[in-house]
Symmetry: C2
Amino acid sequence: ETNNAFDALSGEGLSEEPMQKDKEAAGSGGGGAWEVPAGERKQQQRRRKGQRRVVDIDHDDENEDDENGGSVGNERQREHPFIVTEPGEVARGKKNGLDYLFHLYEQCREFLIRVQNIAKDRGEKCPTKVTNQVFRYTMKVGASYINKPKMRHYVHCYALHCLDEEASNALRKTFKDRGENVGAWRQACYMPLVTIAARQGWDIDAIFNAHPRLAIWYVPTKLRQLCHAERNSAAASSSVIPGGGDHFPF
Amino acid sequence: ETNNAFDALSGEGLSEEPMQKDKEAAGSGGGGAWEVPAGERKQQQRRRKGQRRVVDIDHDDENEDDENGGSVGNERQREHPFIVTEPGEVARGKKNGLDYLFHLYEQCREFLIRVQNIAKDRGEKCPTKVTNQVFRYTMKVGASYINKPKMRHYVHCYALHCLDEEASNALRKTFKDRGENVGAWRQACYMPLVTIAARQGWDIDAIFNAHPRLAIWYVPTKLRQLCHAERNSAAASSSVIPGGGDHFPF
DNA sequence: AGAAGGACCAGTGGTCCGTA
DNA sequence: AGAAGGACCAGTGGTCCGTA
């Protein structure tokens, strides 16, 4: 129910197979493949090996008969790991790029909107954030490449992308050129956010809430803590200045 | 920390004895006694019987030496039950009136504000609603006459009081005069709220959120369900009208 | 080694039901 | 009987750590 324009755009099979376990639905978008998440792919024929079926978009491998070890199929397939890409860059090999990462946040927002519409229709309480309920919905609906630990892990990266796309793009370029891994880039996303918070009275919650696409995400604990710590040390150093108080002495 | 004007007004001992169990702090305001919640009362002498110590504000019984059964003291004392009173009326006997009930909601809001200030100071996430955390705080602080089941039970009664004090007052008078009990009055509070919701597009969440003192309370499940059911049956009956559709046919 | 995500855990919202 | 509230429970936010 409650289809909207997003559904057509995202091209995902969101209302199908609510009973079916999500094993066969994950779509690991390799490179530019992420415009076509895999929910739509599986049909009534069950997967005998499961694995390749699910991971090989980036190989253009539509062949069902790949071999891969003797294990009975259906074991869960992980998404390809992210690599640092610059804006517009397509990840090569069994990797996903950062445009795809950010796209997952947009998709997640669309799922939230659906969950909200369903809740409103039913007169139930309506989530304002991406909650467990939303992640359960993405699973049910076959979009199991969206999961809670992953989305929570990179929220602050998406926040930087939303709040200062220029800075976010520049950081991606720098870290790509340096050959840094995703973990290093992810860590580096904190600092610019703390700087933004400093400019806005350190209220990171207010900053998230003021941005329509960011407001639906919980502020990550570590980001909150960094802002708090930095605020305190900023206050401490400014109060040491002779002439004192919390104001700049000029 | 973070004392504010409310503290002085409420007269409660909120920052004391965080270690002490709450057993000796509950203050059952009988009648007009509720301006002086009992948190402040206990001192370093421990209660030997506990019970009377805690319940007898309405008796003006400051005497420590009441007898009451041989049981070792400290058993929890319940608040006096509510009775339907009209506005300004003081409950007699071992009863509490509805002004006192509504006062508990105001107090609870003050406790929330303190919890929020503490959270902000610490850079922790800041509750926007009266959560378990707030109830834990009221307990810790000796205001154990505020508890979750009670506050949730009467939220919609408080909502009516906030949203249409005239109607609320009239309902109280009516039910008092009829000699109805609190349960009957409580049930009767639902209907006027549904009527208010009908006028405002059935969005009971929006109605709560638009009111500053009500916004901090979760919409009670039953009220939400009533609004939903009533909306649907209103829609159904209007769509039956010849000339059809969801609009009035004139 | 670096990274994805199943699965766990402490504390939540919600309210039932043993208690007085 | 009517009512107050301790205590339970399903599902939450949060993220660790066994996995690949």
